[in-house]
């Protein structure tokens, strides 16, 4: 029998560490799972309906597995996957907080997920009301005038924001070429700037891990369209000179773009709009707890100051005169940035999350997120000193430089060893301005007992580093696979089961 068994669980860490066959290796000609409704429609031969030059002479192979094997396969794969539901996921910059099951239930309601996106507004008033309500609350959270909910993720929000920036300047008849970005910025920022048709000017961070104001002033000029900032920045520090920065940028006629990936730190404490930002994107899949789905979907709404409202993408769900809701396209809209209305079910989850927390709850979210990050930073100060050792916001960027110089144990080794300790690794080697960076974002939903357990795990790892550093280069050992050969994957690409 050539094909692989569908009922063997040796790949489930519960029982063994073998690899799981692919769906295709399990496939057996003639086997099937699908069951379709009885339609009663005459079974005319396809070639009588469609000219043969359109019909595929070959059968495209998908897979042929039984429902039982399908279930076994994907259930086993799920056992080979870490997730928030299994344990702490302190990935800096990713805000891997607990995702309430309640919000999943909201999104699973056919009253929301069985609505066709092309349904006339008159027959989908509930959905339009959800979108308008969410927009209002997001504007309140950010201190902005209006928002588009179309962008499907943060990066999509960034590009949308840059196109808004461009449209605004063009409307004012001035064409600008550069967008300023700090050297600590996330990679999507410069990539989006390029796609927005601008040139990137990078400004260095100062020795406090913040934007170097003098360097920024030097970089500013009449050809600067704006600046993209994350505040707190990617190091987890608040840009304390934000007022001066805003003034400097506005003085040259530039706009301030707020990368909201770190919004979780400041909910209810300070608002981008009040800091002087003109354009803000939010990562609902971070701050508002919508699940990451192993890499997506997300949602990256963009809120803007009143002077930019007319340029927002359309059509936009809007409350109209008679109190009902309709699709309206802003006067000078840059146009659609999504095939339909954005990641609607993600948006609904976020609204449910906001409603449960309310203004008071959201404020507590930020307070406890910041408390946790600072507790962890302080707790680990001996082993992994913070790159900039002072009060941080929702995340702390620590450095393994000491371990590296003393024992040759790198940030990567610590990250991998943590897996054997029952914790997901933090973000490593980001931001680029910190040497041997280990960026921890505990989020507000982890308890102090969990933080303490993480700290003790790191203490054990440091202990091991002093005794047997070599062993750490081979961590993890308890996981279904050990360190993987990334170079080989890139050298000889095998992107499908059909690649030879």
């Amino acid at each position: 029998m050539s094909s692989q068994p569908g009922g063997r669980a040796a790949s489930v860490p519960l029982m063994g560490h073998e690899s799981e066959p692919t769906l295709f290796e399990m496939s057996v000609s003639g086997r099937s799972s699908y069951q379709l409704r009885t339609t009663g429609i005459p079974e005319t031969a396809l070639k009588e309906l469609i000219p043969t030059d359109h019909l595929n002479p070959d059968v495209v192979p998908v897979a042929e597995v039984s429902e039982r094997d399908l279930v076994g396969h994907f259930t086993r794969l799920s056992h080979r996957q870490f997730s928030v539901d299994l344990g702490m996921y302190p990935l800096g910059s990713c805000t891997m907080k607990y995702n309430p099951k309640f919000c999943d239930a909201i999104a699973a309601d056919p009253g929301l997920n069985a609505v066709h996106p092309g349904t006339p507004a008159s027959l989908s008033q509930g959905w339009l009301e959800i979108l308008v309500t969410l927009e209002e609350k997001l504007c309140q959270v950010t201190g902005m005038g209006a928002a588009t909910l179309q962008p499907a993720a943060g990066a999509a929000g960034e590009l949308t924001g840059l196109l808004l920036m461009r449209a605004y300047h063009e409307a004012n008849g001035d064409d600008r070429r550069r967008v300023i970005i700090p050297d600590s910025a996330h990679g999507t920022n410069p990539a989006s700037v390029t796609l927005g048709g601008y040139e990137v000017t990078t400004v260095p961070s100062n020795d406090r891990g913040l934007v170097d104001l003098t360097a920024l002033r030097a970089a500013l000029g009449p050809d600067v369209a704006g600046i993209m900032l994350t505040n707190p920045n990617t190091v987890g520090l608040f840009e304390e000179e934000i007022v001066e920065i805003a003034k400097a940028v506005h003085d040259v006629g530039g706009l301030l773009y707020y990368d909201g990936a770190n919004l979780n730190a400041i909910l209810g404490a300070v608002r981008p709009g009040d800091m002087g930002f003109d354009i803000v994107h939010m990562n609902l899949h971070k701050t508002f707890a919508t699940p990451h789905g192993g890499g997506g979907p997300g949602a990256g709404p963009v809120a803007v100051a009143s002077r930019l409202v007319d340029f927002l993408p359309g059509p936009k769900a809007t409350r109209v005169a008679d109190g009902s809701y309709d699709w309206v396209t802003p006067e000078r809209s840059i146009g659609r940035v999504h095939g339909w209305h954005g990641n609607a079910l993600v948006l609904a989850r976020a609204l449910a999350y906001i409603d449960v927390h309310g203004g008071d709850g959201l404020t507590r979210v930020a307070q406890h997120a910041v408390l946790n990050a600072n507790w962890l930073r302080h707790r680990l100060r001996e082993i992994l000193p913070a790159a900039y050792d002072r009060v941080c916001m929702h995340e702390c960027t620590l450095s393994a430089t000491a371990l590296k110089t003393k024992y040759g144990v790198r940030a990567l080794d610590v990250a991998k060893a943590l897996l054997d300790e029952g914790f997901h690794s933090p973000t490593v080697y980001f931001p680029l301005i910190v040497d041997e960076a280990l960026m921890f974002e505990p989020t507000e939903t982890e308890s102090v007992q969990t933080l303490e357990a993480l700290a003790q795990a790191i203490e054990r790892i440091a202990e091991r580093a002093s005794i047997d550093p070599e062993a750490l280069h081979h961590a993890p050992q308890h996981t279904p696979v050990s360190r993987v050969d990334e170079a080989r994957a890139a050298r000889h690409l095998i992107a499908t089961a059909d690649a030879k």
């Binding site: 907080k97 959270v141 007022v243 309310g358």
Partner: protein, 454 residues
């Protein structure tokens, strides 16, 4: 007060003490007072889950056209397909739902292998060897294809058939403002792209739809030959369900395939989250947008999967990256792999066949009605457009009273993009039939339409 925070007041107190602080405010003391929010957010206090559920029940009661309450004949890129309990159960496993991007492959083999299987399936359905791990949706996938063409040819001119979904064309226009691409739309004649009518010289990309947005099946060889002649990339935006029976993009000679993957296990969802499908030829691999998973081995030579060719991506390449995409639609990709595994080779064929049969049955019935005429006389797959001689918007409203979502108004769909239809637009209805539609449902549709049109 409702939230998901674990800390008790004692926890907070002792943690602050550990930090030598007196209050939570101390943590924010370094934020300039001038910009601090004085009186908190103006958002109502938190409600309990059941209270919020009641609010949402209010919303859903106002969504009168759910596919559960009305029979859905609307399509246009979003389809009412069967999603069995088994696919919902597997795709909602919390390990898939609450995982982040697989940055640590040692504990992410589940998602990585599922993506690898998804990539294999998309490669087979597109007939192209290099798939990626998903993009936001079909519209943004098209934008990435245009960017790829720009990069590959160093040219700016994007020649797009008006047969491409109006929303996709609209989105392409929006992003072209940033990339500086020139978008040239090629009109349709009798529902088929009239390539001769425009100057395609110096094109970076030739883009055709299969089937096109009116459901029509065009012979793509003309487009392909133009692409060859001009040295442009040939981009095909295809319905992946069609690949169950029709020629694949690859078979038509496409260099790049883009499509909408919602049909594979994702509910209608009011338009999102959906699944942007993307695949290309070997020679474009270095320009591939987004993530790609590759097979390799671990240090003890066990098969393992990992995200690869990272050097293209924004986090490493920054302003020179092939794309800015980071978070994608992985969960929908995993769902698609599960749904396709459930359908299997012959289930997909059966679904595609039933779509075509149902559509042709309904087409014949409707075009027999007085005053109803097809927009195109050309072959179609599972979707077709009709002139009704009456406002399509109005017809849809009237049909809804009869528990039928009759289709999409092409005028509404083409807001912001050329419909490229001969004759009147407001009376054009785009009708779709999926494998879920029964003869009784179709017959009821016809009866209802008779009443509405009479």
């Amino acid at each position: 007060m409702a939230d998901y925070l674990p800390h008790t007041s004692d926890d907070v107190a002792s943690m602050l003490e550990f930090l030598g602080m007196n209050s939570l405010d101390d943590l924010f003391a370094h934020i300039p007072a001038a910009v601090r929010l004085a009186n908190g957010l103006e958002i109502e206090p938190g409600l309990s889950e059941p209270d919020v559920a009641a609010i949402f029940a209010g919303y859903t009661s106002k969504n009168t056209a759910t596919a559960t309450k009305m029979t859905c004949f609307a399509g246009g890129g979003a389809y009412d397909h069967e999603v069995p309990a088994v696919v919902k159960a597997l795709a909602s496993r919390s390990e898939f739902v609450t995982a982040y991007t697989p940055y640590q492959p040692e504990v992410a083999q589940g998602v990585l292998q599922a993506i690898f299987e998804y990539q294999t399936l998309i490669s087979r359905l597109s007939g192209l060897p290099i798939p990626n791990a998903s993009l936001y949706d079909a519209a943004t996938a098209l934008v990435e294809a245009l960017n790829m063409a720009g990069g590959a040819t160093g040219r700016q001119k994007m020649v797009i058939s008006a047969g491409i979904h109006p929303h996709w064309r609209h989105v392409a226009r929006t992003f072209a403002k940033g990339t500086g691409h020139e978008i040239v739309v090629v009109p349709l004649r009798d529902g088929v792209t009239d390539w001769e009518s425009v100057d395609v010289s110096g094109a970076a990309a030739i883009v055709a739809g299969y089937p096109n947005y009116l459901g029509v099946l065009e012979d793509l060889s003309t487009a392909k030959s133009l692409a060859l002649r001009e040295g442009a990339l040939f981009v095909v935006g295809a319905d992946p369900v069609a690949a169950g029976v029709l020629k694949t993009a690859g078979q038509w000679g496409a260099d790049v395939f883009v499509g909408e993957g919602q049909a594979f296990g994702t509910p209608l969802s009011f338009g999102g989250p959906y699944l942007g499908l993307f695949a290309c030829s070997e020679d474009q691999v270095r320009r591939l947008p987004g993530r790609i998973v590759g097979e390799t081995v671990d240090s003890s030579d066990r098969r393992a999967f990992v995200t690869t060719l990272r050097a293209r991506e924004q986090d490493i390449r920054r302003e020179k990256a092939t794309s800015n995409v980071c978070t994608n639609q992985t969960l929908m990709a995993v769902t698609a792999a599960i749904q396709l595994g459930w359908l299997g080779t012959y289930g997909l064929r059966e679904v595609a066949t039933r779509c075509a049969r149902g559509a042709h049955y309904l087409f014949d019935e409707l075009t027999a009605l007085p005053g109803v005429s097809p927009v195109s006389t050309q072959p179609y797959f599972r979707e077709f457009a009709l002139h009704l001689g009456r406002s399509a918007d109005e017809v849809i409203e009237r049909m809804a009273e009869r528990d039928v979502l009759a289709g999409l108004s092409v005028a509404a769909l083409c807001h912001g993009a050329e419909p490229s239809i001969e004759g009147s637009i407001d009376d054009v209805l785009l009708v779709t039939v999926t494998e879920r539609r029964t003869k009784d449902e179709i017959d009821h549709y016809v009866t209802a339409m008779k009443e509405v049109l009479s």
